[in-house]
């Protein structure tokens, strides 16, 4: 989807992150304070970031308007494999 190499997924963590020079990807299985703090930092740095969350509304409520995308995991996956 983003043309990036696969990142090892640590299922014990509430969220996993992949960052390189061009993009930051976060897959959030659960919301926690650390995730919100990390996303606030990303918003300040204007990084090109995509967050995939099962509960995007929780993050939008906590963060307010931000200049990166918070996408629902399920819809993004369905869309990707449509057609």
């Amino acid at each position: 989807m983003h043309g990036l190499p696969l990142t090892t997924y640590d299922s014990s963590r509430a969220w996993n992150e992949h960052t390189d020079d061009d993009v930051t990807l976060i897959l959030a299985d659960r919301t926690d304070d650390a995730l919100i703090a990390r996303l606030q930092a990303i918003a300040v740095s204007r990084a090109n970031a995509f967050v995939y969350s099962w509960t995007p509304g929780q993050l939008k409520t906590a963060l307010g308007p931000v200049n990166f995308e918070i996408r629902p995991v399920r819809e993004a996956l369905v869309k990707r494999f449509q057609q």
Partner: protein, 850 residues
């Protein structure tokens, strides 16, 4: 360029625009689906949308993501035809869509016009000229051959098969420039689109208005993006500086102003390059140099300017790229991205849409730039390079674009040259609210500025030569540098001395960082000038409360709390009596059979159909996601657990599969019941407060109409026509029922709001103080709607909104204008529709029910 580019995450304003456009397309598609006989009319009257967004705001990205987001979402497939104004932009658009919208399948009209195997979201990108003009290419595309349909036949086939046709007109103001008539006729007669997305950077676009009239379309839906939001998102530079060289009258005959201006541009460019190196940002800046077209038999302006550039210290031949075409073609784009080049000389007069994010500096030596110069040329240097974005608003030098103009006639104060300068200055106002104009050089202080709002930077004036040796040495150097012409050698000593002083002054002015002495005031500390700056005070005498009560959403801990999810599941299972549905595997259906031999003989048979587990599971996944703050996986688990407890208590036999399937079927069939369960449990936990006061002062346009009962004494500007009419009715209430009214602005921190079961917030349009109403502070809330004609009123969101009550202010009065005047609306549960209830009467606002 290295490797494939990453997807760009949408900024908040882009995301909003994509959602707004997508919502309109969905609504129109549903409308067409239910009234296919009115397809043409709906497409023309409701299907046209306008995206008006500043240059550099990512219009192509927003449009592309809108199209990509529609895939699989509409009741029919949709094929899109995307029109770019030039062939060069076709290539750029194709590259951009391929890179940023991978879900879209790009097709080529010249090679592939098959209607078979069409996919939802197929996109064809071309110019109008490629299809609508009277030329060879267009004729080929419009002719059916043995191996390929004509475009016209392909469109007819697609339409007949129920495939929707969408049109995107990018840079709409240019698209309709030359061949508006042919384009409009092709658009109406051949394309016959169901949806049209127009994109423009130009407010008040005359050409667009002309096209609307010619094609008979009505732009019903507009998404307008403020430049301020683009700047704050880090996509556009904060400010712009315009510099022009001005010397003593008569100096124009002695020194080369073009050379001096190119030097000034290069000096600025070097300063930017050094700053980027200091900050360790791997971007090589680009200086754009715009030259005039070559006159027939005249000198080549590109060669002239290149020769002058090569005379400047530090400029090498290999740093210069030259684009000779008068059109902004693909080469122009490639050159802008070639990091081995630092200067790009070009002739194009219009380059709208072209992307050169590493350009900070523009030198224009082209006369007659015209009123479009700002948007079409200077707009290229307003974008912010992605690698600089983290520093956006923090470095005054990098936060601005720099434009240098030269025109010898300006020195003579010729009115045409001054008018040109004023036109350029005016054209830049569409690009930035922060424009600084600098007149630099050696004009005497007594000489008035060419532009009244310019700053004057006077250079140090060197002394005249002391003797002949000094004269010769200084003259040689200036001629060698190209600052003054070799002919000066033959002039009288006093003229030579004057030329030397003028030349050295010009050189000094050009080599001094031009804007270095100005106060640096870019960035967040200096937001763009407000246009609404008249203060209106709160009228406390009307009896308004200090603050309005607000419902707040649950935080993530509350929403993830297993007790909350379990309570939602219990409420849903109890309401839907689910236990009795365990084990159901068949669904009732009926089928009509027509006898082919007996005319008119038809009968209906009942069937019991086996329901596929896989199909149920697939559909149910979406149904669990009705609130994007609740994890659908956890919600499903809680529902299954609740059903399991009930089944065990009731002594039912079941398998895990039965439980899962029963829950999945139930949420698909009864989404409103699940929504109601969430609403109840959310309501029990939602926090309410009145801690943010109504502002003492609001800022709006000057001289607004006075309103006696308005919170701040005037009718605020941010109201649409029905809202304004309603406000006037409240203000004129002679009965004394209305004590005050307040426009409740969406998303303002202090505004009252309710929580919807989807997790979204609902800000009713008005809060009204009503005499005799027993809700908190006697407040009634009012929501004003346009009308129900085009289906927008009956959207899912509105049906949810009309069913919620404010916990303090209670029922919300919904109203819309109709032929019979203002009517009150209510929700009809049996029909699941919002319907007119009765004429709207202020006297009924005392009641806590509708």
């Amino acid at each position: 360029m290295s490797g494939p580019a990453s997807l760009h995450s949408l900024a908040d304003f882009q995301d909003e625009a994509v959602k707004a456009l997508g919502a309109t397309i969905s609504r129109v598609a549903e409308h067409i689906d239910t009234r296919p006989d009115h397809r043409r009319e709906i497409g023309l009257k409701s299907g046209t949308m306008l995206l008006q967004a500043p240059t550099g705001s990512g219009k192509t990205l927003m449009l592309g993501r809108t199209l990509e987001g529609m895939i699989g979402k509409l009741p029919m497939k949709c094929v899109w035809f995307w029109f770019a104004p030039y062939s060069g932009l076709v290539t750029q658009t194709l590259d951009s869509l391929a890179e940023q919208c991978p879900g879209i399948r790009l097709r080529d009209l010249t090679a592939d016009r098959s209607a078979q195997g069409v996919r939802d979201g197929d996109v064809f990108v071309q110019t109008w000229g490629a299809v609508a003009a009277n030329n060879k290419d267009a004729k080929r595309v419009r002719r059916t051959r043995e191996d390929a349909l004509s475009l016209d036949d392909m469109l007819a086939t697609l339409r007949a098969e129920g495939v929707a046709i969408g049109v995107v007109i990018d840079e709409a103001h240019l698209n309709f420039g030359v061949s508006a008539g042919a384009a409009a006729s092709f658009y109406l007669d051949v394309l016959q689109p169901d949806f049209t997305l127009l994109a423009t950077a130009t407010p008040n676009d005359d050409k667009l208005v002309a096209f609307e009239k010619a094609a008979g379309v009505e732009v019903q839906s507009r998404v307008v993006i403020d430049r301020d939001r683009v700047v704050r998102a880090g996509l556009n530079k904060w400010g712009l500086m315009l510099g022009y060289l001005r010397m003593n009258p008569g100096d124009e005959a002695l020194i080369d102003f073009e050379q001096a201006t190119l030097t000034a541009g290069w000096t600025q460019h070097r300063q930017i390059r050094a700053r980027l190196e200091d900050k360790d940002i791997g971007v090589v800046p680009l200086m754009l140099v715009q030259v005039e077209d070559q006159a027939t038999g005249g000198e080549d302006p590109v060669a002239r300017v290149k020769a002058k550039l090569l005379e400047i210290q530090g400029v090498r031949d290999d740093l210069i790229a030259v684009h000779t075409s008068g059109q902004p073609d693909a080469d122009f784009h490639m050159m802008a991205y070639d990091h081995s080049k630092q200067i790009l000389i070009f002739k194009v007069a219009v380059a709208t849409g072209f992307d050169a994010p590493r350009a900070w500096t523009l030198v224009s030596v082209r006369p007659n730039r015209g009123t479009g110069f700002g948007l079409q040329i200077v707009g290229r240097i307003m974008r912010v390079h992605p690698l600089v974005r983290p520093l956006h608003g923090q470095d005054a030098l990098l936060d601005k674009g720099y434009v240098f103009l030269t025109d010898p006639d300006m020195q003579a104060g010729l009115s045409s040259a001054v008018d040109e300068l004023k036109a350029v200055r005016q054209s830049l106002t569409v690009l930035s609210d922060q424009l600084d104009v600098v007149e630099y050089g050696a004009a005497p202080p007594a000489q008035p500025l060419l532009l009244s709002d310019a700053h004057r930077l006077a250079a140090y004036v060197p002394p005249p030569p002391v003797d002949d040796a000094d004269r010769q040495s200084r003259l040689d150097m200036l001629i060698d540098e190209g600052v003054i012409d070799a002919d000066v050698r033959d002039m009288t000593p006093d003229v030579v001395d004057r030329a030397i002083v003028a030349g050295e002054t010009a050189r000094l002015a050009s080599q001094t960082p031009l804007f270095g002495n100005l106060p640096e005031h870019a960035g967040p500390s200096a937001p763009p000038k407000p246009t609404k700056q008249t203060a209106y005070r709160l009228n406390r005498d009307l009896g308004l409360p200090a603050a309005l009560w607000q419902e707040h959403p649950l935080d993530y801990r509350q929403l993830s709390d297993p007790v909350f999810l379990s309570d939602v599941a219990d409420a849903f299972c109890d309401q839907s009596a689910l236990v009795g549905k365990l084990g159901q595997t068949l669904s009732r259906a009926s089928m009509s059979l027509r006898d082919l031999f007996i005319d008119g003989e038809e009968r209906e048979v009942s069937l019991n159909l086996k329901i596929s587990n896989a199909r149920v599971a697939e559909r149910a996944q979406a149904a669990f996601q009705l609130n994007d703050s609740i994890d659908p996986r956890h919600l499903e688990r809680a529902l299954i657990a609740a059903l399991r407890a009930r089944a065990e208590d009731g002594g039912y036999s079941f398998t895990d599969q039965d439980l899962r399937r029963t829950i999945q079927l139930a949420v698909m069939r009864e989404p409103d019941a699940l929504m109601a369960a969430i609403k109840v449990e959310q309501g029990k936990r939602a926090r309410l407060d009145d801690t943010i006061p109504i502002p003492e002062t609001i800022f709006d346009y000057a001289e607004l109409t006075i309103a006696r009962k308005a919170s701040h004494g005037v009718f605020p500007s941010r109201m649409n026509k029905p809202e304004r009419a309603f406000a006037e009715m409240l203000d004129a209430d002679p009965s004394g029922t209305v004590q005050w009214w307040l426009r409740n602005p969406e998303n303002e921190l202090w505004a009252t709001r309710m929580m919807l079961p989807t997790g979204a917030r609902f800000f009713p349009d008005f809060a009204v103080g009503i005499k005799g109403r027993t809700s908190r502070d006697g407040i009634a809330l009012v929501e004003i709607k346009d009308d129900g004609e085009d289906g927008r009123l009956h959207s899912d969101k509105n049906r949810l909104k009309i069913q919620v009550q404010h916990r303090e202010y209670r029922n919300v009065f919904w109203s819309c204008d109709s032929e019979r005047g203002l009517v009150q609306l209510a929700f009809n549960e049996a029909l699941n529709l919002i319907q007119p209830l009765r004429p709207f009467e202020i006297s009924r606002m005392v009641f806590l029910h509708n």
